[in-house]
């Protein structure tokens, strides 16, 4: 059994937020007498993450996902509660702790804009105290995994977003960290670049047993990488567990589209007691609860002469979207 690498207990964070009224009067009032109020953005959350786990943080914009990630990597001081990451208090930012973690943000970059990425890699290597040969070995290994080669020698400003993101990853992983904090790493990337990035992260996790904490608004990132998700709503955790369980809970029914040989067969099926969503001539769509699905399917196949059958599961985006849109969605 893997040990806990991240332990969060009763964690809260408040920020002082200033608000401004509309118009010139509001602007002047805001300039001379700024009204600030303390806003609790993270409210008494608890969770643990095991070594080697890939955990996705889900939530609407402003739910508090990035704030949690930034507290975990030590950028923001918590207001209340405790965080232990890899045996250290993150906000102390001790050298050993910093050598163990990395933060990758899809919308911010650390590469030197006017120079080829290779220059940034060697600069990072010197900061992490790696000698030239070790740095070269790691750059070769990671560039092979990321499938980048010639791009290493082209100025960053001339690279495509996908190539830049791969280079950002290489720069962030040159010290071989055990814990990766990824804040929307696939933001703005095309479908192929997203897929390649996910493939790389999976491989990296498998080869190094690194722990990955990920936030993303692309559901494909979550479904293909994370077995476990933590849903954040208004600064609180509304769900912490397996992704497939969440999907079952949010979508308790499946739909089956049955194509019958004739309209008569379809009517016979309609009258057999299933919950009908809609019916057109010889096609009928029925809704079946997940726990009754197998037995219902058996009944249909044994008792009715059908031409074809399609099982429709609601798209994951749609299911997760329910959490994001409705802020007080009861999971």
């Amino acid at each position: 059994m893997s040990k806990n690498i991240i332990e969060v207990k009763h964690l809260s964070k408040s920020f002082d937020i200033s608000s401004k009224e509309q118009g010139l009067k509001g602007t002047l009032k805001h300039f001379f007498r700024r009204q600030t109020k303390s806003l609790k953005v993270i409210k008494d959350i608890n969770f643990e993450i095991k070594e080697g786990e890939i955990v996705g943080f889900l939530g609407a914009n402003g739910a508090g996902k990035t704030t949690i990630l930034k507290m975990l990597c030590g950028l923001i001081y918590p207001s209340e509660g405790s965080i232990i990451v890899s045996g250290s208090l993150p906000f102390r930012r001790k050298e050993n702790f910093l050598k163990n973690i990395t933060l990758i943000m899809g919308q911010k970059q650390q590469l030197i804009w006017d120079l080829p990425p290779i220059e940034s890699f060697y600069l990072n290597a010197s900061i992490y105290d790696l000698d030239k040969f070790e740095a070269k070995r790691r750059i070769k290994k990671l560039s092979d995994m990321l499938e980048i080669d010639d791009e290493l020698f082209i100025p960053v400003r001339k690279l495509s977003l996908g190539q830049r993101m791969k280079s950002e990853l290489l720069a962030a992983l040159i010290h071989e960290p055990n814990i990766l904090f990824l804040d929307e790493p696939t933001l703005g990337l095309d479908i192929n670049a997203q897929r390649n990035l996910r493939k790389f992260l999976k491989k990296y996790n498998k080869e190094t047993n690194a722990t990955i904490c990920l936030t993303s608004h692309y559901m494909k990132d979550i479904t293909s990488l994370c077995q476990r998700v933590i849903c954040v709503q208004n600064g609180s955790i509304s769900y912490d567990g397996k992704l497939d369980l969440l999907l079952k809970r949010l979508s308790p029914v499946k739909e089956i589209l049955i194509v019958c040989h004739s309209e008569k067969d379809a009517t016979k099926l309609e009258e057999s007691g299933f919950s009908i969503k809609n019916k057109t001539k010889n096609e009928i769509t029925i809704k079946i609860e997940n726990n009754l699905f197998t037995s219902a399917l058996k009944t249909i196949l044994n008792n009715f002469d059908i031409k074809d059958l399609y099982i429709n599961e609601p798209p994951v985006d749609e299911i997760i979207g329910k959490i994001l849109i409705k802020k007080d969605y009861d999971i």
Binding site: F15, T66, K70, C73, G74, L75, I76, Y77, R93, E95, L98, K99, I101, T102, L103, M105, Q107, K108, Q109, Q110, I112, W113, D114, L115, E119, S120, Y122, L123, N124, S126, I127, Y128, D129, P155, D183, E184
Partner: protein, 264 residues
């Protein structure tokens, strides 16, 4: 702190920032021309002040050139290191890229103060040294070891004071987010350092000695140059520089506790 590692990192900083700057050749050429014209303009302005009066505040034109030389060296250092790095702090904080700096296993103040250099500032340093060598000749100054040591100590102290003032203002960005204006005001005050402190009224002299220690930055090294300085003045400058450096360090560490990073 591992000095070998910091030296290695600094050589990488030098290499990467020189390589970045050399990508834009025309920009460097313009900077070099600006540095030469700026020095010529300053000397011309100084000569106008001294045209009718033989001396200002007890300083002859030939002596005032020493202050101009020291100011040119300090301005060169400002343009080489302080300007490209310390103005970047504001950008780092506004855009949230300070996150990357804080998560590196290296001192964050070292990183943000020395990551970049602007090579065209080197020319100003060379011009300043050239002007000082010329002043040695025209003022018939006797070069010896104690003179050079004292001059070097006071110049290093001046650099420390200048750096601390600038760094202190940049650090306040953590609370105020935009502090460009304050940095511009500081730069304007530094222009005053081109003139002898004695040429100002008593009130201004107090202001530029106590509140914004311009006096320490150029006048004391110039007095050392001319052999006019008192020992207590040098001790005072060393003391002020140490206090400024330590305060700016403590203030940075204190301010980081309030860093909230930019939203994503």
């Amino acid at each position: 702190m591992n000095p070998r590692k910091y030296f290695k990192v600094y050589t990488k900083f030098l290499h990467t920032s020189l390589a970045s700057e050399l990508e834009y050749k025309t920009n460097i050429l313009i900077d070099l021309i600006t540095a030469i014209l700026s020095l010529i303009g300053s000397i011309f302005l100084l000569s106008i002040f001294f045209q009718n009066n033989g001396s200002i505040g007890g300083w002859e034109f030939e002596q005032a050139l020493i202050i101009q030389g020291i100011y040119t060296i300090l301005n060169g250092i400002t343009n080489t290191w302080f300007n490209p790095n310390l103005t970047e702090i504001v950008k780092h904080i506004r855009e949230g890229t300070l996150d990357f700096v804080l998560l590196k296993p290296i001192d964050s103040q070292f990183f943000i103060s020395l990551k970049k250099i602007n090579p065209s500032g080197f020319l100003e340093i060379m011009l300043g040294i050239g002007l000082l060598l010329f002043c040695i000749r025209i003022n018939q100054i006797n070069l010896n070891l104690s003179f050079l040591t004292l001059f070097l100590i006071t110049i290093i102290c001046s650099i420390c004071i200048l750096y601390s003032l600038w760094f202190f203002i940049s650090t306040t960005t953590i609370w105020f987010v935009k502090t460009w204006n304050a940095i511009e005001v500081l730069r304007s005050f530094l222009y005053i350092g081109r003139f002898p402190l004695n040429s100002f009224s008593f009130t201004l002299r107090i202001f530029f000695s106590v509140f914004i220690p311009i006096a320490f930055i150029t006048t004391i090294p110039s007095e050392v140059f001319l052999g006019l300085s008192q020992l207590w003045e040098i001790f005072l400058e060393v003391f002020v520089a140490t206090v400024f450096l330590m305060t700016s360090r403590k203030f940075w560490l204190f301010a980081l506790k309030f860093y909230s990073s930019a939203s994503s």
